[in-house]
Amino acid sequence: MAAVRYTSVLCALLVCGCGGESGRSAGGTVAIAAGSDPGTFIPALAQTTTAAEILDMVYDRLADIGDSLNIVGDHGFTPRLADRWTWSRDSLSIAFHLNPNAKWHDGQPVRSSDVRFTIATTKDSSLAAPTASVITNIDSVSTPDSATAVFWFHARSPQQFYDAVFQNPIIPEHVWKDVAPASWRASEQAKNPIGSGRYRFVRWIPSVAVELAADTANYRGAPRIRRLIWSIAPDFNTLLTRFLGGEIDVFENLRPENVAAVQKQHLGVKLNPYLSYSFMTFNLRNPANHDRPHPLFGNRDLRRALTMAVDRPAIVRAAFDTLALPALGPTVRAYPSTDPKIPQIPYDLAAARKLLDSLGWRVSGRDSIRVRNDRPLRFSISVPATSALRIKLAVLIQEQLRQAGVQVDVEQLTLPAIIDKAGKHTFDAIIGQWNTQPSPGGVRGSWGIASSRANGNNWGSYESPTFDAYVDSAVNSFDAGRQRQYFTKAYETINNDAPAIWLAEPRQIFGYHSRLQLAPMRADAWWAHLPDWSIPADKRIGRDSIPPTAAATTAPAESAGKKTR
């Protein structure tokens, strides 16, 4: 068998060597760096970036968001499983008409009952799907015929189309119907996904690799790259060395300090906009007693003074060089609704010192640290010990605040310990980073009142009815211009309250093998157009010559989710 496979590789080499037009345009393998195992192949339960990348290749949505990331109405959305859709007169329902050629990878046709099943199970509380909370506006899905799925909504909303399609890759009912949602994670189906996307699942060797092969009979056409491999290693340096050594073609999140080494190896580097911002959040509640305000950060003026004492552009330059911009607030520039001129608290060390003086925090005696009622102006910043970048940001802030008479201790902890502290609110300040979704309304989950009171991800317990009201108005606005105005007001409100120092909006530093011809990249998902990448025939290397059929035909013989050799 091994000999047969080896022979087939040689045959493929020969075929590639004298291939015609089609041979030049389609073929090749892309090996992608993966920092973790995917965990699960159930779209509603996926949590890792690796899983998101793989699942977006294997499963299809009814429609996909456009490169502009517009989420109001259906402008910019492109057909996927649904080749067209019709809005009802009152906009309380949308009928999606399925592409009659769409098929699951096991050959069964995609039916409207699959769509209904997907939504019903995602909303099932026993599945505990994280996406359930963002599709609460969907009441139900009806299926007047096998090719039409009608979404019914509780209320008209600017992003109801986005909610319906973006959060819900469609899964096959015939594969899942006999498994109770609570048992999905442990099921065999979860390790052997059957989707309708342009790539079909071949195998997963835990902690080693995941392999997909092109679905050459796909209703949307065969992708150009015939084989995708995610090469898994949790250690960043291991992955980086694999990339520099040519074992991996794509490294999606290089660090600024890696760029020179990558360019020296004649590998490509591309900077992409990214839906991510870093910040240093203050804890507004007392770590010892959550019902009381924090002895320092409960005071808005003190937070403003500290923000004023930090030269954010200088910090971003020192930590990222030109590979990031100072963050504007709890948002990113890639959102169409973000105004890049949102007012900021300016860097002004003299004004910061004056404000601290006026608050009673004065420098006394030989010590340069400010004191009030014998209490020094001192706090700690918690950072994950595994993130050199966040440690660097913390040290830079420490030095800048020292000049204002503030003593800062940098506390390095493991990531679970940081998250534990954040969840229990037992910290002074934390340097964090949110990777957001295309909907700017997600800001409520990290800075809104409801999130603070439900022990959600509003770690610092910032509560502002004004901020919430502006965000609600923005999210419910059908007019893009008004939406932008409301979001600007919301960001202005939170910036003035200074519950956090907004640090950086990093750009994604995307490393790739120079033989790859890339397609445009979306800010929320660099892989969105991966099926349209190509490798010119004259630039192909050994791994590009493995025939996709050989990869695909190994699938039934392998036991998915188990090491096969």
């Binding site: 994280p130 909370s133 991800n457």
Partner: protein, 323 residues
């Protein structure tokens, strides 16, 4: 002999149980839980987290969780790995052969190399070669395993890229290679982690064995052998080495836990998908049951290794058989 064997097995079982209980306690005391990663996502609601914790029994009191785990263990179940979404037994069954392969190669390699170095040193005792080898073995003896691993990684995968960076096989090409090429692929991936472990472990073997050989040299029967006219090489091989090998059996028993813990770090550095790799990653992701399962299997391996060494020692030394 049977009573001795049964008593040692009983002791081993108690040790494994205590180690498992301490590990269970310590990993639960560490901040965070298996769903910490989900917490780090602004779109996950508290309700989802509570549901997940309830589904896996993490909302129950610690004592209840412990007794549930012990009960499952008594039924032969090692639990569920949250990070792999697989039974712990399946994760470890995949990883264990890789660890055993690495450890076996390291064990055999380190003893062969260590004994050889010791023989050379004793044959040329007091010379520059002896002193140089003493210095080299001391260097490797005192070097932390992770440091040597990182140096080897840097030297042979980046500066002089002759070995792959990590993993047990090439994930992209391995499936499509012929039989011989597959073996070569596996050997290339095995080279750096096993070489690192061999260098570290052989240093202590060499130092230990050199001392044992020097202890035997002044014995009367060695003098007799010399008087019989045997060459120095014949004396070393037939008389000195054979009699100095007995302490090596003890060293094998002692090396087993050292190699296993060393392999944990080395596996992590070289992304060698063995038990250590799985357990170290599980600690980071607070995958409680995988950590405890890994520690149980590890402690069984260590206690069985020690037991085998003791039995081997008793078998090899006739003076101990009566005891």
């Amino acid at each position: 002999m049977l009573r001795y064997f049964a008593r040692r097995l009983g002791q081993a079982a108690i040790i494994v149980a205590i180690v498992a209980a301490i590990t269970f306690l310590l990993i639960h005391l560490a901040p965070g839980d298996p769903f910490s990663a989900i917490l780090d996502n602004p779109n996950v609601s508290e309700k989802v987290r509570l549901t997940l914790r309830a589904q896996y029994g993490l909302d129950r009191p610690f004592a209840e969780q412990f007794f549930r785990y012990v009960n499952a263990l008594a039924h032969g179940e090692l639990g569920w790995s949250f990070s792999h979404d697989q039974p712990v037994s399946e994760v470890l069954a995949t990883a264990l052969p890789n660890t055993l392969l690495l450890m076996s190669v390291a064990l055999v390699g380190s003893f062969v190399l260590g004994i050889f170095v010791a023989l050379v040193q004793v044959a040329r005792r007091g010379t520059f070669t002896d002193q140089a080898l003493s210095g080299i073995t001391l260097f490797f003896f005192s070097m932390p395993d992770f440091w040597l691993g990182l140096l080897a990684l840097l030297a042979f995968t980046y500066w002089l890229p002759i070995f792959p960076v990590g993993g047990t096989v090439d994930p992209v090409m391995h499936e499509f290679l012929g039989f011989g090429a597959r073996i070569m692929d596996r050997l290339r991936h095995l080279a750096l982690p096993s070489l690192t472990l061999i260098l570290l472990a052989s240093a202590s073997v060499a130092r230990f064995q050199r001392a044992a050989l020097l202890d035997v040299l002044p014995a009367d029967y060695i003098r007799t052998a010399r008087l019989k006219g045997l060459t120095e090489r014949q004396i070393l091989r037939r008389h000195v080495l054979r009699n100095a090998l007995l302490p090596i059996i003890t060293l094998i028993g002692l090396s087993f836990p050292a190699l296993l813990t060393g392999a944990f770090f080395i596996e992590k550095i070289f992304a060698w998908q063995g038990m250590g790799y799985a357990v170290v990653n599980a600690i980071g992701s607070r995958d409680y049951q995988l950590v405890v399962g890994g520690v149980i299997i590890g402690s069984i391996m260590v206690t069985v290794g020690s037991l085998l060494a003791d039995l081997l020692y008793a078998w090899a030394d006739p003076r101990l058989r009566g005891h």
